[in-house]
Amino acid sequence: MEKFDLGEDARLLGPIRKTGRGFWLFAGSMLAIGLWGLFAWSTQLRNGLSVTGLNVPVYWGLYITNFVFFIGISHAGTLISAILRLANAEWRRSITRAAEVITVLVLFFGMGCVILDLGRPDRVLNVLKHGNFTSPLLWDVCAVTAYLTASTIYLFLPLIPDIAILRDHMPERRWFYRILAIGWTGTARQQKILNRAIAGMAVIVIPIAVSVHTVVSWVFAMTVQPMWHSTIFGPYFVVGAIFSGIAAIIIAMAIIRKAYHLEEYLKQIHFSNLALLLLVFTLLWFYFTFAEFLTTYYGAEPTHMSVFLSKTEGKFAPLFWTMVVTCFVIPFTLLANSRTRNTVWGCVVASISIEIGMWLERLLIVVPSLSNPRLPLTATTYFPSWVEWSMFAAFVSIFMLLYGLFTKLFPVVSIWEIREGREHSVKEVTERVESYLPGGEDGHDA
């Protein structure tokens, strides 16, 4: 393929061509926090889980909370991107890649949390050697592996034409991009195969994504523990996952837009459209939470009520009501009001609030049920130790570092899809709308 002129889209290569001091400062500080995490982890490896705040009966804490939280965030990318692609939502073009990268990267940290939580991480391969398929944890292993594979393919496929562009425009890293471009020349045949593959993957990825968080919820729901053993948990977790996922995309987009001056590509309309989706999920979250808590309260079984009351008026009450405010009150107020929804800061504040709230929600699912065992037990209050907090900080930092590095190697806004939008979709959309109207040609009758 001859080197074509990128035109104004050339600026999308800017972050790859030039790396300023700001980025190195960012990368350095993220790496420093990551190294601190390595130190914390070595402490845990030497002394075992006694360096955490875990105890009897709170056997699971921050690590499992983060596992659920990170896997939840992973629903940002692939799922949203797949739905928008299949729905022919034209505004998706500049945001899909930024979203898909979140999925692939954050899944590693989700799985990392489980390994971190093991008493014997050296024996983790027993899960393959002696796998017990009646265990929801094994379902998790299967679902997450499938999701990681599918979403990596789904990230890579739409990257191929862009990698070819890099191969032709970046002579100094040509060898690297040449391997990854796997011979892409942009012929009509190649393009047709690629479009088909992307569409196929988009269909495959959706059920896998739904299964992943359903299965994560089943780790809890399949036990008989009070306020875990709930049929609503599957959909409740999926809704929460997409909720925190969309919020994560908005935050990532706002940072990319500001850092790389991509206001022309990540426009207000992209934020506002996502914000509308976020508003729907704010309401869905409230609906599910309300249904779950009302059912427990109305049934009033004593073992369930002891967990319920510990959340609403007991020792977890400050966290619980913060969750209600950050998951519902703040985002609902900001997103239902068009004056704040149609500003970037309004969307970002709502999203940050949701991330805090959703993290608290995960914590409030894991810890209170374990803190209130059915039989009397002298229980100590769980508070995460410095090791657990350090690992949390390190995981978030290394995730951000890897995300930053991705934007330095590949265009975070899909160049060819923007071009395609400009060159073909405007006409296609006009034709599509005409076909909806009386007198238009009905493509589906043919």
């Binding site: 002394n47 075992g48 889980l49 006694s50 705040g53 875990l54 105890n55 009897v56 009966p57 709170v58 056997y59 699971w60 489980v114 939580d117 093991l118 008493g119 014997r120 991480p121 024996r123 983790v124 027993n126 899960v127 050697k129 002696h130 796998g131 017990n132 009646t134 265990s135 929801p136 944890l137 094994l138 292993v141 780790v219 399949m222 036990t223 008989v224 523990q225 374990l370 065992p373 059915r374 039989l375 009397p376 037990l377 002298t378 229980a379 100590t380």
Partner: protein
């Protein structure tokens, strides 16, 4: 095939904790130490749980209930283990495979009785206690789950003994350390499938009940008590 079962008579139990200590010594259960105990990380295969009986405001009737592993016929812990590190044997004993356990603690959270224990750190005994460790029971490494085994090693020993004496296993040949140590004779151990055994007879008593029966776990630890509080536990 035997189905081993334990009966604990709460009307006889004095809460003296002899069973707790006997279990600790018999099974090489490490002492937690003051700092770990304060952090809520003691290990005990047999614990005494305080139950309050009767209405609030009336004469309080506090019972200390010894709680070992229930060795359920339908154990919730076995299903959830991702690596088959906990299994139920032919004679109904729920066993833990220490060398395979990955320490995910799913079983400890799934057990409604909270009887499963985790080794938060490497077990240590103050000298000279280390010299008194039982050679029949393996010392568990850091990071794995352990729990009451109904003194499974004693069953092995009893089987060896009766096969040497060329006779069948009789009631009393196999008794866990807690049962043996009980000064109030509040605990009875035996085969629930043997219609003439003491545990079978006692399990049919009107005083008999099991903990959290409504969960369908079918525990093989059976309690006896005159009070009506069995049902509300």
């Amino acid at each position: 095939m035997a189905r081993w079962s334990m009966v604990i008579d709460l009307d006889r139990c004095t809460g003296c904790q002899a069973c707790v200590v006997a279990c600790q010594v018999e099974n090489n259960v490490p002492p937690a130490g003051a700092d770990q105990a304060a952090a809520g990380r003691t290990i005990s295969w047999m614990r005494l749980a305080p139950f309050q009986n009767g209405e609030h405001g009336t004469r309080p009737d506090l019972k200390l209930v010894p709680i070992p592993c229930m060795h359920c016929d339908h154990p919730p812990c076995i299903k959830v283990c991702p690596v088959k590190a906990t299994q139920i044997g032919e004679e109904g004993l729920v066993a833990q495979v220490y060398p395979r356990c990955i320490g995910c603690r799913y079983c400890t959270t799934a057990c409604p009785y909270t009887v499963r224990q985790f080794n938060w750190r490497r077990p240590e005994w103050p000298q000279p206690m280390e010299r008194g460790l039982s050679p029949d029971v393996s010392v568990r490494p850091r990071g794995v789950v352990e729990k009451c085994s109904f003194c499974h090693h004693r069953l092995q020993r009893a089987k060896d003994k009766v096969s040497a004496e060329n006779r069948p296993l009789r009631e009393g040949d196999y008794v866990p350390a807690c049962v043996e140590s009980c000064p109030a004779e509040a605990m009875v151990f035996g085969d629930l499938d043997d219609p003439r055994s003491n545990v079978t007879r006692l399990s049919q008593s009107p005083r008999a009940f099991r903990l959290l029966e409504e969960l369908g776990t079918e525990p093989k630890v059976i309690y006896l008590s005159k009070g009506e509080w069995g049902g509300e536990v």
